[in-house]
């Protein structure tokens, strides 16, 4: 065992990356993952705090110090067991969690230097496990209870996995033709390879979770029908916050204006970057402008770059420090040659005579007083408008709750933004119907959706086990 002072001397191990010039032209993963020695060195940086703050920083409470300790002594099987006990999708969260605001933010080492690379280690163990670990899942005794999960995003998948562990028969209904939610339609291959998502979904299936694609709840079945006609004893709703918001500026219906969702769906889910092998097209553009400052904006602009846009420009109304995107993505985008135009906001999309986008007119902003979010409010500077030429303009300014399901579910309480209201057990206003993830929180994160899935599964298990033979709660 190293002494803390020895551990303190070790420098944070850098994540090996694909060369920036090269990767700006391909869709392969940017981060290559730690080699074995880098991983164990990084794991030794963990000071093994008695009161490990990092665990509290993790929305699903992964025993971080324990799995780091196991990595440090090269016992990856043990590390994997510790990790999987709290997080069923570590290969995904290790890649997409905003560690810098969660576990790594509270790591004591960040006070005097850089935190332990918790996300990198998590990814390392998950990738090792995918290759080497047998699923030791013992099929539990069936409880005879049936649960429907709406939406196969991280929230729904996590909940399904947890409920299956208890022996409930789980069916996941997914609107699209593949499972994964934002993980497959939104987050690009170069950040989260789809094989990883597929592997996680296969694991769930092997554990008995049934996944039914091509079913839109609210259209194909209503919630009421699932309970009354299809015989489900409880339902978990995790249909995400998938309705794109447009800014409402002139010119948004010109050819060449996309929501980030449409652009990313075409490219990622439908494979438009391989048009020819696939049938779904995306508009060819040499200059692309993306507006927004979150992960979605970052994914859209980096995807644009990979499709050949030069420049691929990101327009954001505040300054770089205020961008909600993961810091790593912002840095990667910059390295890949994305042009940042901070403190400006689009006011109009300009078209040519044939109805195609030719430029976007922006206005410069300055930061005024802090707003409700505590960030300084951007204020337009009069007479500062300018044009940025582009053929495609992508809006990544946020999403709202999709009303498709809530509208067809009488008695389901929502708030003024259309998000489903739940109690402390994640149960909605309809007994037996639980909800979590983005549909409850608004656009949040993968790990928070998973946390909701996990917590809901606990409440649902309780609910199911105290309900009578007819599946109706007796209390």
């Amino acid at each position: 065992m190293l002494k803390p002072s020895e551990r303190m001397k070790i420098q944070r191990q850098p994540m090996p990356e694909q060369d920036a010039q090269k990767r700006a032209c391909n869709f392969e993963e940017v981060n290559c993952g730690y080699a074995a020695d880098a991983a164990s060195t990084e794991a030794q940086r963990c000071l093994q705090c008695k009161d490990a703050k990092c665990i509290g920083g993790c929305p699903v409470g992964v025993k971080i110090a324990d799995f780091a300790e196991a990595i440090a002594r090269d016992d990856l099987a043990a590390a994997a067991d510790i990790l999987f006990a709290d997080n069923v999708l570590p290969g995904i969260t290790g890649r997409v969690c905003p560690q810098e605001t969660q576990c790594e933010a509270v790591c004591v080492r960040s006070k005097k230097g850089t935190p332990v690379g918790i996300g990198y280690l998590e990814r390392y163990v998950a990738d090792w496990a995918r290759e080497n670990r047998k699923d030791l899942f013992e099929p539990p005794n069936p409880t005879g209870k049936r649960v429907a999960v709406v939406g196969a995003g991280p929230g729904g998948l996590t909940c399904a996995g947890e409920l299956a562990k208890h022996g409930h028969a789980v069916t996941v209904f997914e609107a699209l033709h593949v499972a994964g939610g934002v993980l497959v339609y939104g987050i690009p291959e170069f950040r989260l390879p789809k094989d990883i998502v597929r592997a996680e979904v296969e694991t769930l299936k092997a554990r008995g979770v049934e996944i039914v694609t091509d079913v839109v709840i609210g259209q194909t079945y209503t919630i009421d029908e699932l309970m009354k006609e299809e015989g489900f004893d409880a339902i978990f709703v995790a249909n995400g916050a998938g309705l794109p918001v447009f800014q409402g500026i002139p010119g948004e219906n010109l050819k060449g204006v996309y929501s980030a969702n449409e652009f990313l769906t075409r490219v990622n889910l439908m494979g438009a970057y391989q048009f020819g092998q696939t049938d779904t097209p995306v508009i060819d553009a040499s200059q692309i402008v993306v507006v927004g400052g979150g992960n979605t904006a970052m994914d859209a602009v980096r995807t644009s770059r990979r499709l050949g846009a030069d420049p691929a420009t990101l327009v954001y109304r505040r300054s770089r420090e205020e961008m909600p995107a993961r810091v790593e993505e912002v840095n990667h985008a910059e390295e890949e040659g994305v042009v940042f135009r901070m403190l400006c906001s689009p006011v109009e999309v300009l078209g040519d005579d044939n109805g195609w986008v030719r430029a976007v007119r922006c206005i410069k902003m300055e930061l005024g007083e802090p707003d409700d979010s505590g960030r300084r409010r951007p204020v337009p500077i009069p007479d500062s408008e300018f044009e940025v030429p582009c053929q495609v303009f992508i809006e990544a300014i946020g999403t709202q709750a999709n009303p498709l399901l809530t509208q067809t579910t009488p008695g389901l309480k929502t708030n003024k933004w259309g998000n489903i209201v739940v109690d402390e057990n994640n149960m909605t206003s309809i007994p037996g119907v639980f909800a979590g993830g983005d549909i409850v929180r608004g656009g949040a994160t993968v790990i928070l959706a998973m946390g909701d899935g996990k917590n809901s599964a606990v409440s649902m298990h309780e609910y199911l086990m105290k309900s009578d033979g007819n599946g109706k709660a007796s209390g």
């Binding site: 033709h177 194909t220 769906t265 075409r266 020819g276």
Partner: protein
């Protein structure tokens, strides 16, 4: 996989497919559509449900070959299968007591008005259908419509069958002669629906058009299907696809439908192994060129 039970040509380039999709069939109402993917790697395209049989678990699609995906779809024979069918999507037609309702269908739009005709009749309306095509061989669904309609008026551009002229000509005649028309519902090519809206506007008759913008997911997630109705942006897949025809911005819809013209031509060429000669002004897509020539007539 979704099995094809029946597959047959109804008219040149128009095929009727009966598909096993029990979940869709049990909830189908007039106005609903599905999104299908023919094969892995394929595009997601929207198609109206022309008919359904909840007991047999089937839905009927009527598909016109206009590009690569519809060509692949129409190559499927009975016994074959489609990769994905999701639905029913969209809001169903609002079936009201209009008194006398006129349905105007063009091309495969005739299949869209068929379930509407049945439902309107069932709820006590007098129903008249006007539908047509270029010539006799393009007229579809006449027998089926006749079952539910009080009157059917097939029309052909060349006068080879039924009324000689466009559907809008016949519609105008009826609007002028019958005082009892409470609503006009229309589905078909955009220029036709636009013309229908212009014909009914002076009469102040409620007119509903079934719009067909380009779609991807069909669940409100992408916004690609957005259309302007009045001063609002609407997502046709969840807010429609039927809207007040007098408020729809048809010009914008027409324009947005041309977004992928170049890529569509590429896909078509690849599928059919043809090489266009740009010097001769060929886009490469023979089918497309003939369709365009017809549309410009």
């Amino acid at each position: 996989m979704f099995k094809i039970e029946q597959s047959e040509w109804l008219a040149p380039k128009v095929r009727r497919l009966v598909v096993q999709a029990p979940r869709v069939a049990r909830r189908h109402e007039p106005g609903h559509f599905v999104i299908v993917r023919v094969c892995d790697g394929g595009e997601r395209i929207p198609l109206t449900i022309a008919d359904s049989d909840a007991e047999a678990g089937t839905i009927t699609l009527v598909v016109q070959v206009v590009g690569a995906t519809t060509e692949k779809l129409c190559a499927l024979e009975a016994g074959g299968a489609m990769e994905n069918v999701v639905g029913p999507l969209g809001r169903p037609t609002e079936i009201e007591e209009f008194g006398h309702a006129i349905l105007v269908g063009g091309g495969v739009g005739t299949a869209v008005i068929y379930p509407q005709a049945a439902a309107l009749k069932k709820s006590g309306n007098k129903v008249t259908a006007i539908f047509g095509g270029r010539s006799k061989e393009y007229v579809i669904f006449e027998k089926e419509l006749a079952v539910h309609c009080d009157a059917v008026h097939p029309c052909t551009d060349d006068g080879s069958y039924g009324y000689h002229g466009f559907v809008t000509g016949k519609l105008k005649e009826l609007l002028e002669s019958c005082g009892d028309i409470g609503a006009v519902l229309t589905a078909g090519p955009v220029p036709m629906m636009r013309a229908v809206a212009e014909v009914t506007r002076p009469f102040g008759v409620k007119t509903i058009a079934s719009l067909n913008p380009i779609m991807v997911d069909g669940t409100g997630m992408c916004g690609g299907c957005r259309v302007t109705v009045g001063s609002d942006m609407k997502f046709a897949c969840v807010d429609g696809p039927e809207f007040d025809a007098h408020a729809v911005d048809f010009g914008e819809l027409t324009d947005r439908l041309t977004t992928y013209r170049d890529q569509e031509a590429l896909a078509w060429n690849r599928l059919n192994g043809c090489t266009p000669d740009p010097a001769k002004g060929e886009s490469g897509c023979k089918l497309r060129e003939s369709e365009e020539a017809a549309a410009n007539q």
